[in-house]
C-alpha cells in the first residue's frame, strides 16, 4: 500500500471520527461519509500495487487484483444507500424539531434527575 494512500485513509478516518462526535446531524452525516471513504481506500490499498488494469485479454500483461475493486464498488453502493437514508432522517428530524442537534436520551435524563433529587 502506497504511503500516500495510507496517509489519506488515516486522515479521512481522523476527520470522520472528529465529525461524528459533533451534535449536529449534518456533520455526523458528512463524518460517516468520510469514514466510509477511508475504509474504501484501505480496501483498495489491500489489493497490491496499483496502476494496471484489473482485466486484460493479453497474456503476460501486468494485472491488478480485481477483487478489492469489486468489493469497493459494492461498499460504495451501500454507502450511497445509507447516506441517502441518513439525509432523509436528518431532514425529518429538522422538520420535526426545527433543530439539527441530537438531544440526550429522555429516559436517561429522567433517571439522572431522579438521582439528583434523591441526593439533594
Amino acid at each position: 500500500m502506497s504511503p500516500v494512500l495510507a496517509i489519506t485513509a488515516g486522515a479521512l478516518f481522523a476527520a470522520g471520527t472528529y465529525l461524528i462526535m459533533q451534535r449536529l446531524l449534518t456533520r455526523i452525516v458528512i463524518g460517516l461519509g468520510l469514514i466510509g471513504h477511508g475504509a474504501n481506500l484501505l480496501l483498495l490499498g489491500s489489493g497490491g500495487p496499483p496502476g494496471a488494469a484489473p482485466f486484460t485479454d493479453q497474456a503476460g500483461q501486468a494485472m491488478s487484483d480485481p477483487l478489492p475493486q469489486a468489493l469497493v464498488l459494492t461498499a460504495i453502493v451501500i454507502t450511497f444507500g445509507t447516506t441517502a437514508f441518513l439525509m432523509a432522517l436528518a431532514y425529518r428530524s429538522h422538520a420535526l424539531t426545527l433543530s439539527d442537534a441530537v438531544e440526550d436520551d429522555q429516559e436517561d435524563r429522567r433517571i439522572s434527575e431522579a438521582n439528583r433529587r434523591s441526593a439533594a
Binding site: 470522520g16 461524528i20 477511508g38 475504509a39 432522517l89 428530524s93 436520551d105
Partner: protein
C-alpha cells in the same frame, strides 16, 4: 437439496418484489405471510437434510470456492435459520394482527422481508464480504423499520442506532481490508487455512477487531450503550424482531469467525471476562429501569453474556450450550417483547408506575408472560433451564468456577427483575388505562411462540444433541473446510 438453500434466498427477495408491486393491502399481507411460512418450512427441511447428510454448499453463479461466493448450510447455520424463521413468522402474524403497522406504512412488508433476506444471507454465507453485505441488508431494513411512524424522540434514538451501526460497518470494512491484505482471500474456509500461516500477533489483532465489530452488533460489554437507547422506541413487533434476531446474528458471526478463523484450544480469559461483565452490567441496568421495554432491552444485553461465555470455554460442551441458549433466546426474547407490546397495546404505556392489574383485566396476557419470564430466568422445566444447565456444566468441565458463579448470580437478579415487571404491571388493582382488549391474532401469534419455547424446553435433550454435533463441526473446522473447498470439483 442445494435448490432449497437457493430458495431460502429467493423466497424473501421475491416477496420483497411482489409486495412492492401489489397495490392491495390484503395481497401484500398474504404474499408476506406465505413467504415467511415457506421460509420456515424450507429452513426446517434444510436442518433435517444437513443433520443427516452433512453441509450443503451452493456455489453462487457456478463459481467454485474459493473463487466464487459460496453459501454454506451447516448444522449451526441451519439451526439458527429454523429458529429465526419461526420468530420472523410469529412476529409477522403479530404485526398483521396489530393492524396499523402495515396500514400506515405501505412498504412495511417489503422492508420486513428485506430484513428476513438479510438474516438468511448472514447465516448462509461462507464469505466474509458477503457477510458484510448481509449485515448491511439487515441493518438498512432495520433502520427503516425503527424510524417508521417516528416522532422527535424516535428520530433521536434511531440516530444513535444508525450512526453506531454505520461506524461498525466502517470498521467491518477495515477488518476485511486488513484480512485481505494479509491473506489474499475473503472466503471463510480458505481464510481458516491461510490465517494459520499469518504472524500470530497480526492474527490476534485482526481477531479482536472482528470481535469488536460483531460485538457492537451483538451489544456486548462495553459496546452495548446504543441498544437500550434505541430498541424501546420502535413499535412492539419491530422491537420484538430486533430483540429476538439482530443481536443474535451478531453472536452467530462472533461464534462463526472465532471458531473458524481464530481458533483457541483452551478457554479464553478475556472473552470470559467480557461475558461476565456483560451479564452483570446488563442485568443491573435492567433492575434500575421502570419501563417494561427498557427492562427487557437491558436483559438482551445480559443474556448475550451467557452466549459469549459458552464460546469463551472453547470446548464442544461450551459451544453446544451457547447454541442451545441462542435458540432459546431467539424465541423467548421475541415473546417477551410481544407481551410487552400487548401490555402497551392495551394501556398505551409500558411504564410500570402507570399500569397495573393486567392479570385481572386481561389474564391471557399474564398467561403468556409467565412461562416466558420463568424461562428467561432459567427455571425448570422451561427452555432457559436447558441452556443454562448446559452452560454451567460446560463451565465446571473447563474449571472456570468464577464465571459460572457470576452467571448464577446474574440469573438470580434476572428472576428479581422479572418479578418487578410481574408485581408492577400484572398484580394490583387494574388501572383505568387498560381499555383495549388484545386482538385474537396477536394473542395467537404470541401463544404460538410460547408453545415453541415450551417445546424447546421439553425437547432439550435432542436439541442439545444436535447442538453438540454442530459445536463439534465448528471446533474441528475440517468438515467445513472439506465441504466448501472440494465441493463440485
Amino acid at each position: 437439496m442445494t435448490a432449497v438453500v437457493g430458495l431460502l434466498l429467493v423466497i424473501p427477495l421475491g416477496a420483497v418484489a411482489l409486495t412492492l408491486l401489489l397495490p392491495k393491502l390484503v395481497w401484500r399481507r398474504s404474499v408476506s405471510l406465505i413467504a415467511s411460512t415457506a421460509t420456515l418450512i424450507a429452513s426446517v427441511a434444510v436442518l433435517f437434510g444437513v443433520d443427516g447428510d452433512g453441509p450443503i454448499i451452493v456455489n453462487v453463479g457456478g463459481w467454485e470456492a474459493p473463487l466464487g461466493i459460496a453459501l454454506v448450510a451447516d448444522r449451526f447455520a441451519a439451526l439458527m435459520l429454523s429458529v429465526s424463521a419461526a420468530a420472523l413468522l410469529g412476529v409477522l402474524i403479530f404485526a398483521v394482527g396489530q393492524r396499523d403497522n402495515d396500514r400506515a406504512f405501505p412498504s412495511f412488508h417489503a422492508v420486513y422481508q428485506t430484513l428476513a433476506a438479510g438474516v438468511v444471507l448472514a447465516f448462509l454465507t461462507g464469505d466474509l464480504f458477503t457477510l458484510f453485505v448481509a449485515f448491511e441488508i439487515m441493518l438498512t431494513a432495520s433502520y427503516v423499520l425503527i424510524t417508521h411512524r417516528a416522532g422527535p424522540e424516535q428520530i433521536r434514538a434511531t440516530m444513535t442506532y444508525v450512526v453506531v451501526g454505520l461506524v461498525a460497518s466502517g470498521l467491518f470494512l477495515v477488518g476485511i481490508g486488513l484480512i485481505y491484505a494479509a491473506t489474499g482471500t475473503v472466503n471463510l474456509a480458505d481464510l481458516s487455512v491461510r490465517l494459520a500461516e499469518v504472524d500470530p500477533a497480526l492474527r490476534t489483532a485482526i481477531g479482536w477487531l472482528f470481535f469488536m465489530v460483531f460485538g457492537i452488533k451483538a451489544a456486548i460489554f462495553p459496546l452495548f450503550f446504543w441498544l437500550p437507547d434505541s430498541y424501546p422506541t420502535a413499535v412492539a413487533p419491530v422491537t420484538a424482531i430486533f430483540a429476538g434476531l439482530l443481536t443474535k446474528v451478531g453472536v452467530y458471526a462472533i461464534i462463526r469467525t472465532q471458531t473458524l478463523l481464530f481458533p483457541a484450544d483452551k478457554p479464553s480469559t478475556p472473552i470470559l471476562l467480557i461475558a461476565g461483565l456483560t451479564m452483570v452490567i446488563g442485568v443491573l441496568g435492567a433492575i434500575a429501569q421502570g419501563d417494561i421495554k427498557r427492562i427487557l432491552s437491558f436483559h438482551i444485553i445480559s443474556q448475550i453474556g451467557y452466549m459469549i461465555m459458552g464460546l469463551g470455554f472453547f470446548t464442544v460442551a461450551g459451544i453446544a450450550a451457547a447454541i442451545v441458549f441462542i435458540v432459546h433466546q431467539v424465541v423467548v426474547k421475541t415473546v417477551m417483547f410481544l407481551v410487552g407490546g400487548l401490555v402497551e397495546n392495551s394501556s398505551g404505556t409500558g411504564r410500570l408506575k402507570e399500569v397495573a392489574g393486567v392479570l385481572h383485566k386481561f389474564p391471557v396476557i399474564a398467561v403468556l408472560f409467565l412461562p416466558a419470564a420463568l424461562s428467561l430466568a432459567g427455571l425448570p422445566p422451561f427452555s432457559g433451564f436447558v441452556g443454562k444447565l448446559a452452560l454451567v456444566q460446560a463451565g465446571f468441565e473447563s474449571g472456570r468456577w468464577l464465571v459460572v458463579a457470576v452467571s448464577l448470580f446474574a440469573s438470580v437478579l434476572t428472576l428479581f427483575s422479572m418479578t418487578k415487571i410481574w408485581s408492577g404491571a400484572f398484580w394490583g388493582t387494574p388501572t383505568d388505562n387498560l381499555v383495549r382488549a388484545p386482538a385474537a391474532t396477536m394473542v395467537m401469534a404470541t401463544g404460538g411462540l410460547v408453545a415453541l419455547s415450551l417445546v424447546i424446553g421439553l425437547a432439550g435433550q435432542p436439541l442439545l444433541e444436535i447442538a453438540t454435533r454442530a459445536a463439534g463441526d465448528l471446533l474441528s473446522q475440517e468438515s467445513y473446510r472439506a465441504a466448501v473447498l472440494v465441493s463440485g470439483s
